[in-house]
């Protein structure tokens, strides 16, 4: 089975809105899913440029699905739905 790619945006807005929780999120996901997922920290995904509502950062992409105002619970929900 192909790994699910989890891209965590490291852009300014996401970093400010998510701050240090981004790293904690990456660590928690790696621990929970092991080699089922691949975590990729990325430069600005430029999603914030397109959003009408700026407060949706931080953004995480689970494969091609955008998780806005991302927190651990939301990202886990999306991963779980993809694993089913």
């Amino acid at each position: 089975m192909e790994k699910i790619k989890v891209k965590i945006c490291q852009g300014t807005t996401c970093f400010v809105m998510g701050g240090d929780t981004i790293k904690a999120m990456a660590d928690a996901l790696a621990e929970k899913y092991g080699d089922k997922i691949e975590i990729v920290p990325v430069r600005c995904l430029e999603t914030c440029h397109e959003s009408d509502s700026f407060s949706k950062a931080p953004y995480v992409f689970v494969d091609e699905e955008v998780v806005s105002a991302a927190d651990l619970e939301k990202v886990i929900n999306v991963i779980e739905s993809k694993l089913k």
Partner: protein
């Protein structure tokens, strides 16, 4: 040629103010550099005021294009004499030099400077001038052409007299000892920076003092004429998106070290030059987004937060951090001429009032960084807006 300059100083033991005073300034067009080192009579606050007054006056005269000899003569003739010691209130050395290598130096009372070329001292002829008003005040005037690789090193008598009265140096380090030590430093590291060289000289002087207590104020100012090391910082996408490619190509063609500060900017360069951005997770990032790598680029970082933090580090002289901002500071300080390509495109999301911190406008940060690099670190910096 670029002139790398710095001065290192140690206060006389037990004093709370420097008795030697050093000032330096580059002209706005960056083609001229003026520096003055003055040694005030005595030590502490009184000496500090005397040397500060002398060096500042000298600097203003030269800046106003009063010929350096005339400026020195005016100051020498007008400086008062200490009523107790019957000697001048402050001695000085002043240098006025251009990027083409033209150099004028005047000295009054300070130890003679060193001109080092390929590791050996170049002897120079001085023109002497004696004050008609005070026959014991002698001015030495030098004019010569510096070459690439030359170093000019000034010191106060705290260096040449260091260790005086000790068994090893009964008459102090003297100018011979000063010259010998500079030669040793240059033999060990021929491309040593002025910061490092001046610091080594004062440490050497201190090391020969009894108990390592400075018996006088110790100062060393060094200049190094070299080919400039150029660096380019690309931050922010251009206002006109149609110009993305053009600016990326000019970034690509720049001859020197290159950094990108900004996620969107890095994405743009990656897209236009077809180069991948590679994460380097092993490097400590602290509470900033970590630095990344790209082929042909020396440093890739996040934008505003990193630039803001790097500016703070430069302001507070915290030059030891390992995070992305610390890496940017190292990148900047290991260059002589720094160009900033600053895109005018704003990321609206950065100005959302609900953000937990206030994010500064890129232009403001870069302007502040430029001023710090020029005024505090004697770099040349230029900003191009796109």
């Amino acid at each position: 040629m670029f002139i790398d300059i710095d001065c290192s100083q140690i206060k006389k033991y037990g004093q709370n103010a420097f008795g030697d005073y050093f000032v330096s300034k580059r002209s706005d067009n960056q083609e001229r550099l003026i520096a003055v080192l003055s040694d005030g009579l005595g030590s502490g606050v009184k000496a500090n005021i005397l040397s500060c007054m002398t060096s500042t006056m000298m600097m203003r005269f030269i800046e106003e294009d009063v010929p350096i000899q005339k400026a020195a003569q005016t100051i020498m003739d007008s400086l008062p004499i200490c009523q107790i010691r019957k000697i001048s209130y402050a001695t000085f050395s002043a240098i006025d030099c251009r990027n083409d290598g033209s150099v004028w130096v005047v000295e009054e009372g300070n130890p003679s400077f060193l001109l080092m070329r390929k590791g050996v001292e170049v002897p120079l002829e001085a023109e002497d001038y004696t004050s008609p008003k005070f026959p014991d005040r002698h001015l030495k005037i030098y004019q010569f052409k510096a070459e690439v690789g030359d170093r000019i090193i000034f010191c106060s008598d705290g260096v040449t007299q260091a260790g005086i009265g000790t068994k090893e140096y009964p008459l102090g380090l003297k100018r011979e000892g000063f010259l010998q030590y500079v030669k040793e430093c240059l033999a060990k590291k021929s491309d040593i920076s002025s910061t490092e060289l001046s610091s080594l000289v004062i440490q050497k002087a201190l090391s020969v003092e009894p108990m390592e207590h400075a018996g006088d104020d110790i100062s060393c100012a060094a200049l190094y004429f070299r080919n400039p090391r150029k660096a380019l910082v690309f931050t922010g996408p251009p206002y006109n998106k149609m110009k993305d490619r053009e600016y990326c190509l000019s970034f690509e063609c720049f001859a020197g070290k290159k950094a990108i500060c900004g996620g969107t900017t890095a994405n743009m360069v990656s897209r236009e030059l077809r180069r991948e951005i590679v994460n380097i997770p092993q490097i400590e990032s602290g509470d900033l987004p970590p630095a990344a790598a790209m082929e042909g680029v020396d440093l890739v970082t996040e934008g505003i937060l990193t630039l803001t933090r790097a500016t703070e580090y430069l302001e507070k002289e915290e030059l030891f951090h390992q995070d992305a901002a610390g890496q940017l500071v190292n990148f900047l300080l290991s260059s002589d001429i720094i160009e900033f390509m600053v895109g005018a495109m704003l990321n609206q999301a950065h100005y959302d009032p609900s953000l937990p911190i206030e994010i500064e406008v890129r232009r403001t940060i870069i302007k502040k960084m430029k001023a710090l690099l020029e005024e505090k670190y004697f770099k040349q910096a230029v900003i191009h807006y796109m």
